[in-house]
């Protein structure tokens, strides 16, 4: 096991720069998720850690060793690919044993390691099967088994669950997290799914257009997003944003679209008169008589909660209620954001304004 340090790493394909200086430090044994929309450079960064892509600038260190010019096989990493990349002409056990056979490991050692990995993943009965004879979830497990057998310093996962159906994805998510808790191997996991990131990570790295937007523990990102992008990316349904001006008089008020007044708390006096974006998560609305008036557009019950889409000052917002209300489309309700849970961002820079 080892730490991973990414220092001012850049990547360009020809003249097109895709990663513009990324710094991430990953502690020994940590589960770090790189998350972001497609094209943000997260997979490229992972492939640079693996050694499948050259590093244009900066350096990557695994443990104490800078690996910029170390070939993949000497980096002591294992990677799980999105399409699993199982060797179709080898049985499950041969797939898992391949790396050790190449190294010329003794047969007893190969057998014991393969059996151990198969035991961990519940693959004992599938060892003689070929990849084609396995289901998606089983293939995913074999791909992980191939990584475990090598007992590497770092596990790299490249969107490993995106080829699975929704139910299996949730199940495998738990399995991977459990596996990490058991093996405690440093893990870098790439996904575009913020729920995967939130549920699995010790530390999330949110990437966007080749830069790191924010690094932090899942709940820190949820509670204190550093900018509008992270605020909108983390959380489902996504945070509501309303444009307007800050007015600091006492605790502060936000003058939203069409003059809607929304409450603020703990706003620095310097923010007075600033053009700002008011962010409030759907789950932080309450119904109150002193709330802002909104007209219901659509109601979507999911069972455990109800999502209400409403028109607030000409903008569509969504509110989530756990309790059941007898709403009807067209009905007027009064939504009150919890001022302590409001996120205020600078309209021009997108940076967070309140603490």
């Amino acid at each position: 096991m080892a730490s991973v340090a990414i220092r001012d790493v850049r990547k360009a394909f020809g003249t097109t720069a895709v990663i513009h200086g990324v710094d991430i430090s990953i502690l020994d044994g940590e589960f770090v998720v790189l998350v972001g929309p497609s094209g943000c450079g997260k997979s490229t960064l992972l492939r640079m850690i693996a050694g499948l892509e050259n590093i244009t600038g900066g350096e990557i260190a695994i443990g104490d060793r800078v690996v910029n010019n170390v070939p993949p096989k000497e980096r002591d990493i294992a990677m799980v690919f999105q399409n699993y990349a199982l060797y179709p002409h080898m049985t499950v056990s041969d797939n898992m044993a391949f790396s050790m056979k190449l190294r010329g490991a003794p047969k007893e050692e190969i057998d014991s390691r393969v059996n151990r990995a198969a035991g961990i993943l519940g693959l004992e009965n599938l060892l003689e099967r070929y990849p084609r004879q396995l289901s998606g979830g089983q293939r995913q497990r074999v791909a992980m088994g191939r990584a475990i057998v090598r007992d590497p310093q770092v596990f790299l996962f490249d969107e490993p669950l995106s080829n699975l159906d929704a139910k299996l994805r949730v199940q495998m998510r738990t399995e991977i997290k459990e596996l990490h808790q058991r093996l405690k191997t440093t893990t870098v996991y790439v996904t575009h799914d913020q729920i995967e990131a939130m549920t699995m990570a010790d530390k999330i790295v949110v990437m966007h257009d080749g830069i790191v937007e924010q690094i932090g523990a899942p709940l820190d990102l949820y509670d204190k997003p550093a900018n509008v992008f992270v605020a909108g990316f983390i959380g489902s349904p996504a945070m509501n944003f309303l444009k307007g001006k800050v007015q600091v008089n006492g605790t502060g008020t936000f003058i939203g679209p069409q003059g809607v007044k929304l409450p603020l708390a703990d706003v620095p006096a310097s923010a007075n008169g600033v053009d700002a974006i008011y962010g409030i998560r759907p789950e932080h609305f309450t119904l109150a008589d002193d709330g802002a008036e909104a007209e219901i557009i659509v109601i979507e019950p999911t069972g455990s909660e109800t999502q209400v889409f409403a028109n607030l000052g000409g903008e569509e917002v969504v509110a989530v209620f756990r309790e059941r209300h007898q709403f009807k489309p067209g009905e007027k309700i009064r939504l009150k954001p919890d001022p302590k849970l409001v996120h205020l961002f600078d309209a021009s820079t997108g940076k967070r304004l309140n603490s």
Partner: protein, 318 residues
Amino acid sequence: MSIAAPTAKPAREIREITAWDRLKVNKNWLGAWFMLPAAAFLILFLAYPLGLGVWLSFTDARLGRDGVFVGVENYIYLWEDSVFWLSVFNTILYTGVASIIKFAIGLYLALLLNENLPFKAIIRAIVLIPFIVPTVLSAIAFWWLFDPQFSIISWSLKQMGLITQNIDFLGDVWNARWSVIFANIWRGVPFVAITLLAGLQTVSPSLYEAATIDGASTWQRFRFITYPLLTPIIAVVMTFSVLFTFTDFQLIWVMTRGGPVNATHLMATLSYQRAIMSGYLGEGAAISTAMIPFLLAAIMVSWFGLQRRKWQQGGDND
């Protein structure tokens, strides 16, 4: 609200289902009809000539004269004919050497073209040229290249001072054999290369990445990933290549007509010479028919080669 009672529909007249009714919806019956045109073509243009050829080999037919059944007389005659055995030897040598070299060069070219080369599209097009040129045309070109007097190869070597006399490419027994084999390789490589390239492109790049991370060297990636995944296509390509080479006629006929002293006679050219040039249809047919066991053997080898690969069977296709 009361539930309405179902209104009784007037009972439809039920006709007895005849065998014809059943046949009309029978998929196998329909399938047989769809296969009929193809079957007619195959019978007319493949099965009939083949059957006629085999029949002729058991007769003493000549050009312009229907033969009578003579049993295996033609074969007994061939058994004692040294020219026939020479042609068998030539055919096996020609097929064996040319196929092995075509495979080696073709695979090499395919691997090369699968890499990211500059001007890849143009190089691929160039590789196909020998395949596109009509065989007779390229044979004539080779005939000139190998001409005893005007050969550009001899001329070049002389200019370089490596030889003093023209090489007699097509006049010497072994020179002639290697020359026609060379021409056949030149013509056959594109087919092997392009088909293997198509096969290589079906191998997912992530397998190579996985193998790289697993610690495989370039050679090991070829040996343990590329080669096994390519074997089904290799088997098909090489079967076809062997069949085409074994039955080759045009190149030889244009370049040497089987000479010198039958040294480059293949079974196909000898058969043509005996049957059409000399008019001994029965004997020529017997030589052609004698090729069938060799061709069947080649097909069997690839068939059983393909059967072995269990990993290809079952499961979905991804």
